[in-house]
C-alpha cells in the first residue's frame, strides 16, 4: 500500500491503482472534513435557526409554500422561493408597487379579531412597531386558540432572535411548538404567558422591517387559507361541531377537541416539519 512495504512495486499499474485510490480517499475525506468544519463554523456563527428554517421550508408540501400574493389572488399559483422572506424577493416589491390590493382593513375573520395595527408573520406571530422604536411581538388569535393554555417558554432578555428563527416555544401535550420570529432583534422584555404580547424586541435594523410581514387585506386571505388548512388537518378526526362559514373557533381548541392529531395541526399551522 505504501512504498515502504515489500509488496509495493513501482510498476505503472500499481502506482496508477493506488494513486486513484488515494485520490478518492483524499477527495472523500477532505470534503467530509470541509463539511465538518463548515458545520462547526455555522454552529459558532449561530446559523442553526436560519438553516433549520430553510431545511423545514424545503420539506414543506408545496401548498404550504404558497406566495402571499397568490393567497390574495394577486397572481396565479406561485410558490415562495425565499422561505417566506419577502425581503429577498424580486417580485414582492413589484406587487407592492402595483398596489393591486385594496387597503381594506378587515379585523374579524371566523370570529377572531386581527387588529390592523400590527403586522402578521406566516407563522402566526405578529409584530407591532412601538413609538419608542421597539417592536412588540405576540401571538395572533388563531394561534392562541390552537395553543390553548399551554405554558410558554420565553427567551431570556438579551437573547437575539432572527426572522424565521425560533422566538419562543410552547410545551403542549403533543410536544413542543416553536413560534417563528417575525423580527430580527434583541429581546428586551418578555410578557406573561397569558398576556397580550410576548416579547419586546429592539429591532436590529433600528426599526421594524415589515416587507416580509402580512398586513391589511392580505391577512384575511391568509387566515381564510389557514382555516381551510386547519379544517383539512383536523378533518380525519371528526369532532362534534362544525365550522360553517361565519362560525367561530372555540377558545381553547385542544381542550374542545383533544382527540385531534395536534402534533400535525401545530406542524401545519406553525410551519414546522
Amino acid at each position: 500500500m505504501f512504498p515502504n512495504d515489500y509488496a509495493f512495486h513501482w510498476s505503472p499499474l500499481h502506482v496508477l491503482f493506488l494513486g486513484i485510490f488515494f485520490t478518492v480517499l483524499i477527495v472523500v475525506g477532505s470534503h467530509f472534513a470541509v463539511a465538518l468544519w463548515r458545520a462547526s463554523r455555522g454552529l459558532r456563527q449561530n446559523r442553526y435557526d436560519a438553516i433549520r428554517w430553510h431545511a423545514d421550508f424545503e420539506d414543506f408540501p408545496p401548498e404550504l409554500r404558497a406566495c402571499r400574493h397568490a393567497l390574495t389572488g394577486e397572481c396565479a399559483d406561485r410558490k415562495c422561493p425565499n422561505a417566506f422572506d419577502c425581503r429577498q424577493c424580486r417580485l414582492h416589491p413589484m406587487f407592492i408597487a402595483k398596489g393591486l390590493l385594496p387597503a381594506e382593513c378587515m379585523e374579524e375573520v371566523g370570529g377572531m379579531i386581527f387588529p390592523a395595527d400590527r403586522y402578521y408573520h406566516r407563522g402566526h406571530a405578529w409584530a407591532r412597531a412601538e413609538a419608542d422604536g421597539t417592536v412588540t411581538v405576540g401571538l395572533d388569535e388563531l394561534a392562541r386558540r390552537l395553543v390553548g393554555d399551554a405554558p410558554a417558554q420565553l427567551p431570556e432578555p438579551g437573547t437575539t432572535i432572527q426572522v424565521n428563527g425560533s422566538a419562543w416555544q410552547y410545551q403542549t401535550g403533543s410536544g413542543s411548538v416553536r413560534i417563528l420570529s417575525p423580527v430580527d432583534g434583541e429581546v428586551l422584555a418578555t410578557g406573561g404567558a397569558s398576556g397580550e404580547w410576548m416579547l419586546k424586541v429592539r429591532p436590529s435594523a433600528g426599526s421594524l422591517d415589515t416587507r416580509h410581514l402580512l398586513r391589511g387585506a392580505e391577512v384575511k386571505a391568509w387566515i381564510t387559507r389557514e382555516l381551510e388548512r386547519l379544517q383539512l388537518a383536523l378533518a380525519p378526526e371528526p369532532t362534534g361541531a362544525t365550522l360553517a362559514d361565519g362560525g367561530v373557533l372555540v377558545e381553547d381548541l385542544p381542550r374542545a377537541n383533544p382527540s385531534a392529531d395536534w402534533d400535525r395541526v401545530y406542524g401545519e399551522i406553525f410551519l414546522e416539519v
Binding site: 500499481h14 478518492v24 480517499l25 465538518l36 458545520a39 410536544g175 383536523l234 392529531d261
Partner: protein, 430 residues
Amino acid sequence: MASQSTFDRHLIIRGLERCSTPRFLLWLLPWVLLLAFGLYGAGLCLVRGLNQTNMDNRFAFGLWIFLDLTVIALGAGAFFTGFLLYILKKKELKAVINSAVVIGLVCYSGAVAVLAVDVGQPLRAWFTFWHPNTHSMLAEVTFCITCYLTVLVIEYLPVILRNRKLRQIPSFLLFEHELHKLMYVFAGVGTFLSFFHQGSLGGLYGVLHGRPFAYRAGFALWPSTFFLFILSAAAVGPSFIALSTWVVSKISRKRLARPEVYDLLGKVSGRLLILYVLAKTVDTVIWINATSPDRGFPAAMFYSWKPFGTWLLFAEIALFGLLPALILLDGKRRRRMPWLISAAALASAGIALNRFVMTIQTLALPTLPFDRFLTYFPSWQETATFLAVVAFGVLVYSFSFRYAVLFPQEKELNVAQPSQPEPELVAVGD
C-alpha cells in the same frame, strides 16, 4: 393516520402518515426473527468454518457471490440515480434519490457483510489493502466496494440527519446542511467508484482465461464483461428504483412519486437496456465465434449440459433484456403502471439471471476433458445468511422510510382529501 398508538410520532416527520407503532413492530417482527436466524447461520459459518456451506472445491463461489453480484447490480440504482440527479441535473429524480441511496447502502453493506462471512479468513481481509495485487479484479472490487460503501454512508447521513428529532440537534442539522451542499462531490466520486465496481465485478469473470465460458476478450485490462456489467447495472438500476418505489408504495399504501418520475426512470432504463442488449448480443456473437473456439472450446458445448441449455442465453438476452427494453421504449406502454412495473421486474430478473450465469453456470461447467458436470445447492446456513441480509435491508429501509423522508413528493401526493365536502371541525362557537 397517526393514531393514539403511534408512540414514536415525535420521530416521524410531520405530515408523513405512518402506521401505528404496534403495527410497525408487527411488521418488523418477522424480519427481526429472520435476521436473528440468519445471524445464527452466519455465526456458524464464522465459528465452525465454511464447511457449513455446500460450497466445495469446484463450486468455490456459491449462492453468496451470485447474490452479491445481483444485489450490487440492483443497488446500482443508487449511483446511477445520483449520477443523473447531481451530474446530469435530472431534477425530477430528487423524488427518489433518498430511497435510492438507502437501497444502495443496504445492497452494498449487505454485500460486504456477506463477503466477510464468505471469505475463509475475514481477519486477514485487510491484507488486500496492504498488499494489493493490482492485476486482480478482486482487488479492484475490494477497493471500490469499501470506498463506495464509505461514500454511501456519507450520502446516507443527510437522509437520516433530517429526521425530525435529529434535526433539532444543531450540530447535526448544520452538518447535514453542509454535507448536502457537497453532495455532488460525493455523488461524483460514488459514480466513479460504482462504475468501476460494477465493471470489475464483470471483469471478475471475464478475465478467467482458464474458464472459456466466462472469458472474454476486451480492452486494456478489462474484458468486455467489465463494460457489459456497467451498462447492465446502469440500465437496470433505474428500473429497480421504479420497481422498489412501486413495491414500497403498494406496501405503505401511499403514492410516493409522481408518474413523471416513474416515466423518466423507465425511459432511462429502456434506452440503456436496448443499448445493453445490443452490446451483449455483439459480445455473445464474438464469443461464440471467436473467443471460445480459439481456446479450444466450441461454445455449443457449454449448453450441452442439462439444465443449462441455450434457453438460458435466449432468456437472458431476449426475454429479460429485449422484451423489457421494448416495453420501456414505448412511451404509451411505459406510462401505464402495470407495463412499466412488469418491464422493470423483467429487467431486474434479467440482471439476476445474467449474474447467475456468470457465477454458478461458469463453475458448473467442466473444463478438463474428462471432468464432470456438477451441481450445487446451498445449505441452510448459506441461505439463512443471505436471508439475514435481506432482513437487514428491509429493516434499514423500513426504519429509514418511517423516520426519514425517502420520497420528498410523498407529502404532497398524499394530502388527505376531505372525506366530506364540509368536514365537521370546530364547534359553532359561542
